[in-house]
Symmetry: C2
Subunit: 271 residues, 2 copies
């Protein structure tokens, strides 16, 4: 196990990237090695609307949601995630003295997995197959590239898209990508920050925060999880199954959000 | 001097990135080490228009043109250059078996220089000072990061924006950035590809191609150069002054464009 921690910060509205970067800069100065994985869903929706290509969300028969990603949507996705969001996060960190390097999952095939031949979705109560979707699931992480950067004093800032097995850019879930990264580099902790304090028994009542879950209880936890939290629970489950000792869901809206989560504030998930 | 070559390919309309990537993939397979620097000006104009923020071009008293880049324009610039263009070029190369890694100039402060406090521009025949411009000039290259990637089998794909001395993302000229990279890593050749066959004595008459220029003749060459070609000549001049042995202006619209330029097809500039 390495001393590296992996931090995932979502792309939902309300997340304060300045606070996240303040905390990361302080940790890096103390010698903490880390990898930041980020999203960009809210901003992608905003830019998609402005470009006259409103987002379409697919819902799987199991209730998981994902963005319908045709070629044009993937262009917008790459523009926002790998362009605007990644550049501005690297900028925030560089301004704070952190030597950040931004990478998307296609760079050096950092995040690789098969593109789904088709996606099953429920539309108006009926199941249909979507075939022109550039979506997949990360199965392989180029840990060598991450360690090369970490060993040379850089802080990797990672974002989707990923690479398909054939080298195509594909949309992948950021939480589950972060889980794969944490497992591949043997991270001691995976911290998943979003705009809620953790997993809530009764969403959105923040007083119903669940402070601790054992791996065996994750399946039950899935039944509490709403919307995007479902994939975070799935990512946590995959990370623990792949050897990560601890996953913490923390609140990205607060100062010291990373440090708080490292100390167990939020929802702690352990094997 | 290293065996690495630096290739700059412009972002103007008419450039065939598939042909450029075909040629690069063949060269990499033969063991040629290289760095690709790319632009994205045409696509940035298209997306800017779509987002309701039409591009504004500033012209300096000396006749050099540059994009007026306020905060909002820099977001669009980063989206197109570092997002869409860079991701899609890396994708083309990954599909062709090249382990490309995309980097903007703010990643690891790869391209660094001071942000201009103000830009002098001629508007309606009168000089004015533009103060909210995020523009600068590359003065320092993180050759260590490029060599780290090259030595480990990766092909760096580099794009503006760059980093200001304070860590802000800034718009910089891609041709002159490529010249600084070529000099910093001791490249044997800098190849600058665009949508013309080279420097033309009478633009746009392609039969007036100038096949060879000595460094001493570059000042005169500047008087032939039209529009964006002016900065390419300036970049070539800076590269030769900084120790690069040969700069070639080649035609990105043709098959084998890199190989042709390496063999001296186009306009060859030497010390």
């Amino acid at each position: 196990m390495s001393d590296v921690i992996v931090i995932k910060v979502g792309g939902s509205a309300g997340i304060n990237y300045d606070l996240v970067c303040d905390d990361i800069a302080a940790l890096v100065k103390e010698g903490q090695k880390l990898i930041l994985v980020h999203g960009g869903s809210h901003e992608t929706n905003v830019i998609s609307e402005k470009l006259g290509k409103p987002p379409r969300i697919l819902t799987s028969p199991q209730g998981y949601t994902s963005r319908y990603t045709d070629v044009e949507t993937l262009d917008i996705f790459a523009m926002v995630y790998a362009g605007k969001m990644n550049t501005r996060i690297v900028e925030r960190l560089q301004k704070r003295g952190v030597n950040a390097v931004g990478l998307s999952g296609i760079d050096g095939r950092l995040l690789e997995g098969p593109r789904k031949a088709s996606v099953r979705a429920v539309v108006d109560g009926r199941q249909m197959l979507v075939r022109d979707d550039y979506t997949g699931k990360v199965e392989k992480v180029n840990a060598g590239l991450l360690n090369l950067l970490l060993d040379n004093g850089y802080v990797p800032i990672v974002t989707p898209p990923a690479s398909s097995t054939e080298g195509e850019a594909i949309n992948v879930d950021g939480d589950r990508a972060a889980a794969m990264i944490a497992s591949a580099i043997g991270a001691k902790q995976l911290i998943i920050l979003s705009n809620v304090p953790g997993l809530l028994r009764t969403f959105p009542d923040e007083s119903t925060l669940i402070p601790h879950i054992r791996y065996a209880g994750l399946e039950q936890a899935l039944s509490f999880a709403e919307g995007r939290m479902k994939k975070k629970v799935l990512g946590a489950s995959e990370a623990i199954a792949a050897g990560v000792k601890q996953v913490v869901f923390g609140d990205a809206r607060l100062a010291s959000c990373v440090r708080n989560a490292m100390a167990g504030k939020g929802t702690v998930i352990e094997g």
